[in-house]
Symmetry: C2
Subunit: 152 residues, 2 copies
Amino acid sequence: MPRLYWEDFHPGRTFEHGPRRLPRDEMVAYAAEFDPQPMHLDEAAARQTMLGGLAASGWYLCCILMRMCADAFVLDSSSMGAPGVDEVKWLKPVRPDDEIRLRATVLDTRASKSRPDMGFVRFEFDLFNAAGEKVMALTTSLMLGRRDKAAP
Amino acid sequence: MPRLYWEDFHPGRTFEHGPRRLPRDEMVAYAAEFDPQPMHLDEAAARQTMLGGLAASGWYLCCILMRMCADAFVLDSSSMGAPGVDEVKWLKPVRPDDEIRLRATVLDTRASKSRPDMGFVRFEFDLFNAAGEKVMALTTSLMLGRRDKAAP
């Protein structure tokens, strides 16, 4: 049985996770497979770009964020996934071997009108680098099963 | 030199790519690494969920979409990346071995006020399954270098 149901999420509640190091070889391997733009793939080419040096693909950061959320609370909850994402902001370059921390903050919650067994919880997920700078912010609503409607 | 600059993108212009098959083993390997929720990892457990069977992680689809965009036009353009994502909608489950097609549509474009060497192009990126159903829609603005300001 999950430990966290929809009823356990209240505005302002936070979950934290990390730090998690992002090794250069994994960052570059991801880019080679999914986002082979020069700024994510090659140090010399990246120096000529707006990012001023090799930096993680924003999509790689989304993957890492998802995994950190899973480890922080999602796998221990009645999560039913998400219908989408409201917004993603990539705020600063994330460099090879940076150490990343996650903070998840509940923004608001609402019951589902069509499905009495679930509700929505809207989160802001923030990633911070080792210097404490916010490097990414993502807003999305998760669907979570309700404790009071769970099968006995 | 890139073939496509900011000036080459006009509202309504489309780019297509695919089909690309999403093999079961790659879909599940991604989930094991980044999104290990039961509906993405295990057929029997997934049957008990809202998705009614094993389905791709939405984040895996974002990765695939990025790669299809890269192959469709981004790697042949003056792309400087994106500051974020406006919205992602996961509309239908994507099943193992589904074949996915990408359609990128230019919504609008604008010059940058602060940087005369670049402009923004807002896109809707849609993924379709083999049955022609739209399974995902993503809206974002790419930053692209301008031809008329490119170094000679």
